[in-house]
Structure formats: structure tokens, C-alpha cells
């Protein structure tokens, strides 16, 4: 195995394109675990941690947030730069695994891995995030809702890496709610829900709903969001929106839960999250 520590993105991309069976390694929390389990055996590892252009969280004029790919979950969790709607990503990061994992695992690695039971995908969809994909051909931005394509499959093209995640500024008054059901603290989600909502008085002006671990990609529903935007949110409206999300879900049976359990749990959690986001936004 060959190990490389490039200090520029260009050098990293050249290595990934030209070296034998090369894989990028960011924090390594997932890749080394997969190597330990015999699931992958790269011939070349390209460490990204020494590339300044991939690091750090930057707030742009206008309120957009650019989170570099090698930013650790711990750095996301403890950042003060997220606005109240963008905070959905920070809330999700705080639930990933355990403190030593969060100190090492990175948003770029996690997003590129696209584990449907992980915490970022649903949160990024609810935040209307864009994933910046970078290859030798250049840079392109893919909306989160289009980035996660299938189980462990993303829109990254061969030779591309995740460069950053970009969060637009959230609407005024937005409130973010992330709720995760897991067997024990630190486990992957059995079900997770992510809600970003903004109220204007009694009327909802903005709603983004996403559910994790309920299908190969984050579950979304235009119908559910349309039921909320422009409406006064009461119990019945929240019920209908949650039910629409339940219809859109495509969960599997696995060791963490049956499909039926996941769907029922998600609908309940989604309703609670909608009402909590309503209350949080009205303050």
C-alpha cells in the first residue's frame, strides 16, 4: 500500500486519478473500519487532512455557510457560525457516534459514504444544502436532494471528491429540529427526522422535511411540505403532513428495526418535530 499526504487539492486529484486503486481518506473513521472488516483493500491512500483548502467553516457575506470536507463532526457540533435554520446540520452532527469518533470523522467522508442510517443526509436535505463536487474537470454543485442517489451511492463522478458542503442562509425566524431514534446513544439511527420551518405569525412560510434511515436516500415529500407552507399549523395539519411523509418512505427490515416499525415511528416523530419547529419559530 502506498500512502500520500498531498498539500494541495490538485495534487490529491492527480493521485486519485493516476495511482493504483486509490482512495481518498479524510478522518478515516469509516474507511479504516471498512479496511479492518475486509470490505475494501485500497492500494493507495490519499490523505486529505493536510490540504488547507478543504478545511474549516466559513461564513460568507449574505449568510451562506461553507463547511470544508475535512471539517470534523466535533467542529461542526461546536461551531457558533450556524444560523438557527442551518443549525439542523449542527444538531445532526452532535448525535453521530461518540466523542472520539466525532473528533476524527469528517462531513466530507460521511457525505461521500452516503450511509442511509447516518445523520447528515436528512439534515442536509432539510437545510437545502449543496454538495460541492471537485474533480480534475472542475467543480460542480449538486443539491443534497439529488446528491444521495441510492444505498451508499452518490452523484460523485469517478475521480471526484467532496470539496465542501454549502448551506444557504435560512429564512428569518427559522427553527431546526433533529430527532433521532436509536437503540442506544451513539448508534446509527433506526429512524431520524429533520425539520426546518419558519413561521410568520400563525402562518408557516417555509418548511423542509426529511427523514433518515427510512429508505435508500433521505425521504422527502413535496406534498407534505405543500400542506404546511401557507397554512396555520395545528394538530390536524401536522398529522396530514407526517402521514404524507409516511407514504413517501421506503424503509427496510434490518437489525435495527422492521420496515413497518420504522414507518410508524417516523410518522410520529415527524409530527412532533413539525409542532416543535412551529413553536420554536414563533418565539
Amino acid at each position: 500500500m502506498q500512502l500520500h499526504w498531498p498539500e494541495t487539492i490538485g495534487a490529491a486529484l492527480d493521485l486519485l486519478a493516476e495511482a493504483d486503486e486509490a482512495r481518498a481518506i479524510s478522518g478515516g473513521a469509516t474507511l479504516v473500519a471498512m479496511m479492518n472488516a475486509g470490505l475494501v483493500a485500497p492500494q493507495t491512500l490519499v490523505f486529505l487532512r493536510r490540504i488547507p483548502a478543504l478545511a474549516g467553516i466559513e461564513r460568507r457575506a449574505g449568510g451562506a455557510l461553507v463547511v470544508g470536507a475535512t471539517t470534523t463532526h466535533e467542529a461542526v457540533e461546536t461551531s457558533t457560525l450556524f444560523d438557527p435554520g442551518q443549525a439542523i446540520v449542527r444538531l445532526a452532527a452532535a448525535t453521530i457516534a461518540h466523542p472520539p469518533i466525532r473528533a476524527v470523522g469528517t462531513i466530507g467522508g460521511s457525505v461521500a459514504h452516503a450511509d442511509p442510517s447516518s445523520d447528515y443526509p436528512a439534515a442536509l436535505v432539510a437545510a437545502d444544502a449543496e454538495i460541492v463536487c471537485l474533480g480534475r474537470g472542475g467543480e460542480r454543485r449538486v443539491p443534497a436532494r439529488d446528491f444521495f442517489v441510492d444505498f451508499f451511492e452518490t452523484a460523485l463522478l469517478p475521480g471526484e471528491i467532496v470539496r465542501a458542503v454549502v448551506l444557504p442562509p435560512a429564512p428569518a425566524g427559522a427553527c431546526a429540529i433533529y430527532d433521532k431514534l436509536a437503540r442506544v446513544e451513539g448508534d446509527y439511527a433506526t429512524v431520524s427526522v429533520a425539520v426546518v420551518m419558519a413561521m410568520e405569525g400563525e402562518v408557516c412560510r417555509h418548511a423542509r422535511l426529511a427523514a433518515g434511515a427510512c429508505g435508500p436516500v433521505p425521504v422527502r415529500s413535496d406534498e407534505a411540505e405543500a400542506l404546511l407552507v401557507g397554512a396555520t399549523i395545528d394538530d390536524a395539519v401536522a398529522d396530514r403532513a407526517a402521514a404524507a411523509m409516511g407514504e413517501a418512505a421506503d424503509p427496510v427490515d434490518d437489525v435495527r428495526g422492521s420496515a413497518g416499525y420504522r414507518r410508524r415511528a417516523m410518522v410520529r416523530m415527524m409530527k412532533r418535530a413539525i409542532l416543535a419547529a412551529r413553536d420554536g419559530s414563533r418565539q
Binding site: M1, Q2, L3, W5, I25, G28, A29, V32, A33, M35, N36, A37, A41, L45, F47, R49, A97, H98, P99, P100, I101, A103, V104, E185, G186
Partner: protein, 158 residues
Amino acid sequence: MTDSSITYRLRVNGETEDVTAPAGETLIGVLRERLQLTGAKLGCAQGVCGTCTVLLDGRPTRGCLTLAADCTDREITTIEGLGVDGGLSAVQSAFVAAGAIQCGFCTAGMILTITALLKRNPRPSEAEVRHGISGNLCRCSGYTKIVEAALLAAGSAA
């Protein structure tokens, strides 16, 4: 297919160690197999159990998820490096005093994690201790005496 060996230097417990190992060897592998520092244990190899926890630049880190060759620019602390003048550190002594050791498999990882926690937060609440050790599994003790030991070491015994 064998992984070819490379040679590099690691800083472990204040000493510089020359290591020759396969490029892909993990830190836990190098510590245990090459440097005979067997205090850290290999449990799950997936980063879940915490028995491989060592300190990297003072931060609790999974030895099983870290490639040793990636640590050449960092300070590694293992349980063997905690003693002061041949004696036990405050956290080690507290573990003995509180009876917090049963089979010992989780102990090194627990003590290092708590040592780092107390450096960051010298007077943690019980909840903060429990959160701090949430990444370290113990199958023997039910955690009670481990938490007591942490609070004892912090000087605010439960």
C-alpha cells in the same frame, strides 16, 4: 497480497520510537505488536467499543481506526505513559481506590478518556462524566464505580 513495510518514527509517551510495519497497519496494531505496549486492547476493530482508545495530541482517539503511519506528526499517549515517577496518576489511583477495575479490558481506554476529560473539564458533573465515557463500553461493572472513580479523581467525590 502482502502489504510492503515502511519505516517511520512515532512519538510515544515522550519517547521517539522507530517503527517498521506494513503501510496499512493501524495504530493499535503497531502499539501492541511492534512496540509491545499491550495496555490498549483490540476489541471490535470498528471504533465502537473504545478498548483501543489512546490519546493523540491529548485527545481520545480510536487506535483501531487510525493508521499508525499517519501519526508521525503527533504525540501519542498510552496507559503505560500515565504514571508519574514510577507511581500511578491521579486517575489510575482513583480507579484502584474506587474498585473500578474488574476484568481490566476496558480500563486503559476508560482511564485515558477520563484523563483527557478532566484536563478539559476539571470539575465535571456526573452527567458530564457519563457523556464523556459514552464511547467506552464496560461489560463487567455497570459503570457505577468507573463514574465514582472519575469524580473522585476530580476531587468532587459522589
